[in-house]
Structure formats: structure tokens, C-alpha cells
Symmetry: C2
Subunit: 293 residues, 2 copies
């Protein structure tokens, strides 16, 4: 069994990005600039946003954080988005989700200029990803693809079973892995809450991507010997042995599944760090105008 060290791979890619940024600046260019919009003071959102700001520093990016009170109106938020759309000093920006209930998330996402939508949530980027055209790929699926590539895992002709059909993980990773591309060319099965025989289907998988959001859902009897298991789950579960009282728990029963696998990602330290790196990668692509002119 080989552990896929997402933390180490992420660190390496950040170093590569930082090196490229140095070259850009040495050639007279300016640092890529990522802006983030944060509404309210949710603990999880604060923590994700500060990780992104930190990653920007590591990559040599400029970052800006725009904070809004939890009571901000949708119109005010969308006006701020329009200003960022028009601001040539900003290469890409993200709105930290979830937003308070009184705000229509989809309207906010669609207000973002798709050419600056480095989270890849705008329908144009989602559509182009499905068609197989260059686009900003949403961060988690893009991170999984980079992870498979860097870990040297062959995907062509493999049966990949995706657990979960969310718009930010399940659907786009299924799209990416079925493309005529490398990584890609997988036979892809998408399972979800309405699938009656998940165990039986998982047992056929060469690659399992678990993104169902249920702690330790994937048990040893669902995984065949030699499978590759990518665990996207990050549920907080109570853990009185930790000072903070909780730990992150993946969708895979790691202890019992890992011995069966050829490769497996841990939680934490697997997909998580790659998600942030994908965002950095998209921001670099935006600064270089590689996807859209």
C-alpha cells in the first residue's frame, strides 16, 4: 500500500508556482493577484479563507480579502463583484461559500466574470469542463486529477466509481475522468443516495473517489484488492482526545481499507491541500491569460 501524500505534492506544486512567479516578476511582470470575498464570521469559512491567503503568500501572489457583514445585501455584494470584474489589477477572485440564507448563491456566482472565476463555479466554466474545452476547473476535482497524475496512477481504461453527485466534486470529477484525455479515459460510474447497490458497484472499481460526506462510509468489504482510493470527505467528528474537541474524518474507513489498496489518500493531508493548490494554479493561469484572452 502506498500513501498518496497530498501535503507533499501540494508543497511541491506551490514551489513550482512560486518559481514561475519569480520568473514573471524578473521579466518585468507583476505578481498574480487573487481576491477573496468573505461574508460573516463562520469558523470554517474564516479558516478556509486564511489558508488561501497563506497559500497566496507561499506562491508569491498578491491577495486581497474583502470582508462583508453577515447582513450584507445581495445587491451590495454583487456591486462589489462587478467592481472586481472591472478591476484590471485583480486576476481572479472567489466568494467563500456558503453565503447567508438571504443571498441567492447562484446569482452571486453568475455575477462573476467567468474569465476571473478561478473557483470554476460559473456555468460557462462548468459547461466547458464537460465539453472538454480549456476552462477554470473547480478546485477539488482539478486537485484530484493533479494528484492522480503526480502519483503516477494510470487512469486509461480503468473503472472509476465516484460516490456522490455534488456540483463541486462528484459531477465535475466524473466529467474530467471520462474525457478523452490523460488523466482521463476512465469508464465512470456515479453512485449517490438513490443507488441501491453501492457495495457491489464499488467492488468493481479500480479507482474509488469518495465524496459522499459520510464519515467512514467506505468499508473494507466495498474495496477490491489493489484499488486506488481517493478520499474527499472532510467531516468534523467529535474527538475528546484532541484539544480542540474534534478531528477531520474522511469518507473512508482508512484503518481497514488502506491495507487493501495499491494507493490511498489520507484525511487530512490528501485531497484537502490539493484543493487550495488548484485555486493557486487557476489564479496563475488567469494572470497569464492562458484560458481566456
Amino acid at each position: 500500500m502506498q500513501l498518496i501524500d497530498g501535503k507533499a505534492i501540494a508543497a511541491q506544486i506551490k514551489q513550482e508556482i512560486a518559481d514561475e512567479v519569480k520568473q514573471i516578476i524578473a521579466a518585468g511582470g507583476r505578481a498574480p493577484h487573487l481576491a477573496g470575498l468573505l461574508v460573516g464570521h463562520d469558523g470554517g469559512s474564516e479558516s478556509y479563507m486564511s489558508s488561501k491567503v497563506k497559500a497566496c503568500e507561499q506562491c508569491g501572489f498578491r491577495s486581497s480579502l474583502l470582508r462583508f457583514d453577515e447582513t450584507v445585501g445581495q445587491d451590495e455584494l454583487i456591486e462589489a463583484i462587478h467592481r472586481l470584474n472591472d478591476d484590471d489589477s485583480v486576476d481572479g477572485f472567489i466568494v467563500q461559500l456558503p453565503l447567508p440564507r438571504h443571498i441567492d448563491e447562484q446569482a452571486v456566482i453568475e455575477a462573476i466574470d467567468y474569465r476571473k472565476d478561478v473557483d470554476g463555479f460559473h456555468p460557462i466554466n462548468v459547461g466547458r469542463l464537460s465539453i472538454g474545452l480549456p476552462c477554470f476547473r473547480s478546485a477539488t476535482p482539478a486537485g484530484i486529477v493533479m494528484l492522480l497524475e503526480r502519483a503516477g496512477i494510470e487512469t486509461r481504461g480503468k473503472h472509476c466509481v465516484v460516490l456522490g453527485r455534488s456540483n463541486i466534486v462528484g459531477k465535475p470529477i466524473a466529467s474530467l475522468l471520462m474525457q478523452k484525455a490523460n488523466p482521463g479515459n476512465c469508464t465512470v460510474t456515479v453512485c449517490h443516495s438513490a443507488t441501491p447497490n453501492i457495495k457491489e458497484i464499488c467492488r468493481q472499481a479500480d479507482i474509488i473517489i469518495a465524496a459522499i460526506g459520510r464519515p467512514e462510509f467506505v468499508k473494507a468489504d466495498m474495496v477490491r484488492e489493489g484499488a486506488v482510493v481517493i478520499d474527499v470527505g472532510t467531516t468534523r467528528v467529535d474527538d475528546p482526545t484532541r484539544e480542540r474537541g474534534w478531528r477531520l474524518c474522511g469518507d473512508v474507513d482508512f484503518e481497514h481499507v488502506a491495507p487493501l489498496c495499491s494507493h490511498i489518500t489520507p484525511v487530512p493531508g490528501g485531497v484537502g491541500p490539493m484543493t487550495i493548490v488548484s485555486l493557486m494554479h487557476n489564479t496563475l493561469l488567469a494572470a497569464k491569460h492562458e484560458i481566456y484572452k
Copy 2:
């Protein structure tokens, strides 16, 4: 075995659309207006386009056909598209594909205002379909979903195997059938040219959607008793017994597969007529501004 009569279902839906158009006109509205752009004189394209014009007549729509010489420049074509985008008398329009090689099809598709893109090929419509938002669904997958619905086929919890990963059939039908919706809620597997064990996977399917473009590819030993088989194939094969010298051949070995099925679509007369009806349905939705304001 029950034959799914796409021709009869299509005729019924066209009648329903025609009835609604009469009501719109009786209430002082105008007929929905579909425009089509046709480049060159390819036999297949001419034939598809004239079927669409005829369907417009049956539905009580106004139709306009804009013809261009095969040597038309891309800029000229895109200018014509911009005029249609701006023409309030046109509710929706389509560009008959394929286009001559000197024209970039994707650039042409993206020039269409997505609010008039009744073929559903613009990335915004593709993306919204994947996310599960209201959109113009591309015609063939939308037709398949209507067919399943009208034939009373339960999809929830069923395993649907899609053969083919084209942008106009395989990928969008996979997207539609995995949605949390009805029809939908299928476990979906997408197989293609890089899938090594198609037979084994097909034998697990409750529903097979064959869109691989290889005549009679699906044989009896690939289908389990009681499966639903939807045949999207329409390859022209030589047939000296026909006056015109060819016949349409599906992707399914109908003679041997049909006796095993609970339901099956014939070729011709299955999915084909539904594809045109979907286009009519989208045009009606466009005229009523039901998807986009």
C-alpha cells in the same frame, strides 16, 4: 417486450405544442419563431433541416431558413448570428452542424446568445444542465428523457449504462439521469472506446442508452432479461433492397436484443422523432421566456 413508439409519442407532443400555440395566438400573442442557419448543401443537413421546418409547421410555429454558400466566411456567419441575437421577432435559432472545415464550430456556437440557443450547445446551457438548473437541454438527451417519462419507465435507483461520451448525447444524458430529479436518480455508468469490459458492464444495466455510433454494436449477450434499451444510433448502411440504396441502422442488434427487453426503441421511429420534438419544445419555452427572462 414493449416497443417504445417514438413516432407516436412525438406526434402527441407536437399536438400538445400546437394546441398551446393556438391558445397563445387566441390570447393575442404571436407564434413562436425558430430560425435555422444552413451552410452548403450536404444531403444529411438538408434533410434534417427540412424535417425541422416541417415540424415547425405542425406545431404552428413560424420558421425562417437562412442559407449560406459553403464558402461563407466565419465572420459573415457570426455577423448573421449577431443579427438573430438582436432580432426580437426570433425566439430561438440553430446552426445546422457540421460546418465546413474552415469554420470554427465552437466559436460559432459561442456567438449564439444562450437565451436563444434552443439546441442547448452553448457552454452556459451545458453547464446549467450539469448543475441541475433550468436551461435549454440539448435535443437528443432531452428527447430521451421525455421518451422514458411518457413510456412510464421508472428511473429512480436504476443502473443506467450510457455507451458513448459525445458532447451532444452521451455526456448530457448521463448528466440528466444522475440528477436528483424524476426522471433521474439513476446510478450512471459511461462507457466508451477506452472501456475494456463493455459487455460485462452492459449486463448489469437496467437501462442501456446506446449512442456509440456503431451499427448493431449491442448484441443479445450484452443485455440482461428485462432491460430497457434506448437506441440512439443512426448510421446509414448500404441496403440494395431499398430504392435509395441505404437504410438507417441503430447501435443495437434489434432482432436478437428486442426479445430480451422490457422496453426498446426501434430505429427509425424511436429517439429520432423525439429529437426534433425537443427542439420544438425548447423553442416554445424560449417564446414563453420560461427559462430565461
